[in-house]
Symmetry: C2
Subunit: 138 residues, 2 copies
DNA sequence: CTGTGTGCAAACACTTTGCAGGTGT
DNA sequence: ACACCTGCAAAGTGTTTGCACACAG
């Protein structure tokens, strides 16, 4: 419930109504969210700009991370405990369901990949599209 | 040089100066391009709108495919011979160099991944970021 | 009290749509 | 000749910036 407050404290961010609200949405829903999703789901409406800035702050501080999207828009998702503000462990696999439209983090590691000689990778991002288990069931 | 003309013919598209020009850029450079890249690199300047529409047409017809980008913008790259307009083989691995900014297709297959039960994947997209061989060398 | 976050307004950038005229086949 | 491309203009959408005030610590 107020895990948001703790999170903000942990990351040395001031806790303001806006930030708490936005964090709560991330905590409640466990899939990736874009601006629109956030704007719709805040009980009290916050300024568009505030949302942009809050997201950027969270991103900079390492509370959330980018999630790729095939439409070109960016989405965000909460980082797991594995990420501190210094060391990030973002080699995520994301699954976007083409039926319900939700993008969720799969807790699978990106398999080892042999890159051509000379390439020095720092980050991996795998987006898989298809039908999620939930939608496939019904 | 005029491989563009052949390509357009193959895909049953009218060959117009704009299309040929844009295709040529894709043929010359072998990395993913966004709108901006195309706008800058056409000898004769084409209307922004034309570029949007041309890209959409190429995308629909299957000459090019989307390439994910971590900035949220979309980029495009030529399809290989493996793709016809019906069967696409897009399980690409793309590498974005954080030094030179270029995104290129690596000709590696996406490794097999075990998804949780019930998930039915249709498309894989792996974006790897880091330093490319070219930039690492100097 | 001080520095940071917020809201508002405006600027800016990106993308899409409608329509009139030009071009490829 | 016909269908389809293109350019222009305008609207629509998404994102950023500047400034004054409010608020957390």
């Amino acid at each position: 419930m107020n895990g948001s407050l703790q999170l903000l404290k942990d990351f040395r961010l001031r806790s303001t109504p806006g930030r708490v609200s936005i964090l709560n949405i991330f905590l409640k829903r466990n899939h990736a969210l874009g601006h629109a999703d956030i704007e719709k789901n805040t009980p009290a409406q916050f300024d568009r700009v505030t949302i942009y800035r809050t997201l950027k702050t969270f991103l900079d501080k390492g509370l959330i991370h980018k999630v790729l999207d095939d439409e070109g828009g960016l989405k965000y998702a909460l980082c797991t405990e594995a990420c501190s503000s210094t060391h990030h462990h973002h080699d995520h696999v994301h699954f976007k369901c083409s039926r319900c439209g939700q993008t969720s983090c799969l807790s699978i590691d990106v398999p080892a990949i042999k890159l051509p000689k000379g390439y020095k990778p720092t980050e991996f991002n795998l987006l898989i599209q298809g039908i999620c288990a939930h939608c496939a069931a019904r």
